[in-house]
Subunit: 398 residues, 2 copies
């Protein structure tokens, strides 16, 4: 079975999270992704925890299925080699601070001349334009800058970030989306594209209706913990062993909840018999619901509630997620055999395609492992020519 | 200037957030998106707050630039009309609970026969397969189920959801990515595709390295507020008027911070002179930093810190985000002239393309506004034939 991006060559000139994330999505779909790293340490993420036998499992998660080469862009021969690679590639992804590619002498105006069909995506914290464009991008700072933190947390405590790199990851997906749209257009027009993808813009997209809440009503969105104040119940409720989330956006789901709790009479209780009074009497309803949920384990609560179709679910920790049968059934547990580390179990792709192969294709590259392959197989050097390039040090220590 | 998806016709048979989000991204890129709604209310999101002159600004944000038609799938004539539309379309996006499309008689095996080149994307809470597949998807429940909440919040309080619909929005982008990859592949192979996009799988992708933290070390990730305990400083710090986020992932950035604070001597303080001792002495360092930041406003703090290149940023509320010059400079403030509502200011697309037009193309459709257009312009009915279809009630009340 072929991959949707078979025959597409991608230069992954990125580090950290958002850039490498974008290009591994493309690798899963069959693109030939060549990760270009600097000499020395290479991508900073190579030393990020957690480790398996000294190998960074974060790096493996973000860089599986890629080739790995070293190019020293501080040497003119390195820049020339990079440009040569661009001439035989379809896509270039980079995530340096804006201005850096120009400093290297390989910004889009230069590269477009040597490969007009190139699809180049620049991923950055704040974009290539605008007053903040020169600032580096950090997920947590972006969650803060783009307003996401102001909506997360409790009314009685400061703004809070989401616990994972949500802006980085969503930016990676957004860049992959833009690249595939540009590849599609290129098939029809023959023309390349330059994409400017900013974590800032992605963060603003993640605000969704909180954005128009301000522009339309003038209200500044606040923090409401796990509550959504216009819907009740909409919260987590304590069980014997953890918590369940219960959401009843109307009288229908509320009736299902009451049936599941064995309290059908609640739907006729004047404190709870429509959405408006339920919102008004939220503390009383929470006491009733939590009085019931706390009698049972989370599994027991959900068995009763899901039987009636109540919108509810467990608040899982990561271990529970990984061990849940659904995770395996969805192909979300993937073993990577990583040389030097052994088996690293990571998660699979979120795009499931019936007619194409979309899956992790192999381990992450060792730093510079494919230098010789690049020179001979991609750039057509003879053995002697290739050896001469390697000896020059432009692809790292000899 | 053309759009990257010019000439692509998309049937948007979705409601709520993740489905409509996916298809408006495609509309911004030039796809002709035809939103198919049921008779009566249509998409539930039509009545979601906030409102401008009684029109849902959430709905407008999620459905701008689309055509709008009504098809009653409970009538055989409605199903026939839907199938006819499929034969002349490129993409179908739907986000019903798995099984519903089969109940309508329009699941992929059926549609593939009438249009083998169709790219169909099914977006759901838990995917088309697996033990949880029949459950409906709610963003907050998915944040809970997929483990994201377990990583968000404080050690001394329960798990917490991110304040916006992060799983919905990231799922929308993921589906758009898959659709564009499938459209690209179709240009090369001539074959259609079926995509199964689950919020659950997307939620797991958003866990990023927290996933391998468990599989590799056996540690269950916990909640650490705004701290990242292996890096210090990495937290928010109180200013006179709000908070700033400061992250110094190594000695270089820490030196910049100390310079910015006018305390270069801190870099030689034995409590703070390397990452490990800074982690050990985090409370003492927080006191020093917050002692300084609290003397100034956020703007003053950032002026001093950004001058030295310290990784730092303000913790903005949504008003501050919308009013920041960078937001306008990035094209992230877009006025939609929405009939019946007036101007609604929403955010622009996160994919910025230099050689193509990617922008909001117009307002959201009124319910069924394009029924006649569909019949005549897309399906080639004569005036009399079109009127007869409308009179039948299969496209809503006559």
């Amino acid at each position: 079975m072929r991959g949707m991006l078979d025959g597409v060559r991608v230069i992954d000139f990125t580090i950290a999270v958002a850039g490498p994330g974008c290009s591994y999505f493309l690798a899963d779909m069959g693109a030939e992704v060549i990760k270009v790293e600097k000499p020395g340490l290479g991508d900073d993420a190579r030393i990020w925890p957690p480790y398996k036998n000294g190998v960074s499992a974060s790096f493996v998660t973000l860089n599986h299925g890629k080739r790995g080469v070293i190019i020293d862009m501080k040497k003119p021969e390195g820049v020339a080699l990079f440009k040569e690679l661009v001439t035989v590639s379809d896509v270039l992804v980079e995530n340096f601070t804006p201005g850096t590619m120009a400093d290297f002498g390989v910004d889009y105006p230069v590269l477009k001349k040597i490969n007009p069909k190139l699809v180049m995506a620049s991923i950055s914290g704040y974009g290539q334009t605008g007053p903040l464009s020169r600032l580096a991008g950090y997920d947590a700072v972006l969650q803060a800058r783009a307003g996401l933190m102001s909506t997360t947390g409790y009314p009685d405590r400061p703004p809070l970030r989401a616990g994972t790199l949500i802006v980085d990851i969503t930016t990676a997906v957004t860049a992959a989306f833009g690249i595939c749209a540009a590849l599609f257009a290129r098939e029809r027009t023959g023309e390349g594209e330059y994409l400017d993808i900013a974590m800032y813009d992605v963060g603003i997209n993640l605000l969704e209706s909180k954005f128009v809440q301000y522009t339309v009503t003038g209200e500044i969105p606040t923090r409401t913990g796990n509550r959504f104040p216009m819907i009740t119940p909409f919260d987590i409720y304590k069980t014997k062993d953890s918590y369940v989330y219960i959401i009843c956006a109307g009288d229908g789901p509320f009736q299902k909840l009451c049936e599941g709790m064995g309290m059908p009479e609640l739907t006729r209780d004047p404190r709870f018999n429509n959405l408006f009074v339920r919102n008004d009497n939220e503390p009383a309803l929470k006491e009733v619901i939590e009085g019931w949920t706390s009698l049972y384990t989370t599994d027991e609560v959900l068995e009763k509630l899901l039987a009636t179709g109540t919108p509810a679910g467990p608040v899982n920790d990561v271990k529970q997620v990984i061990e849940h049968p659904h995770t395996k059934a969805r192909g979300m547990l993937v073993d990577i055999e990583q040389p030097g580390a052994g088996t690293i179990t990571t998660f699979g792709p979120a795009v499931k395609a019936a007619n194409s192969r979309n899956e992790i294709r192999g381990p992450a590259p060792a730093h510079g492992q494919d230098n010789l392959w690049l020179l001979k197989e991609v750039l057509g050097r003879s053995d002697a020519q290739a050896q001469s390039v390697l000896d020059s040090g432009v692809m790292g220590k000899v």
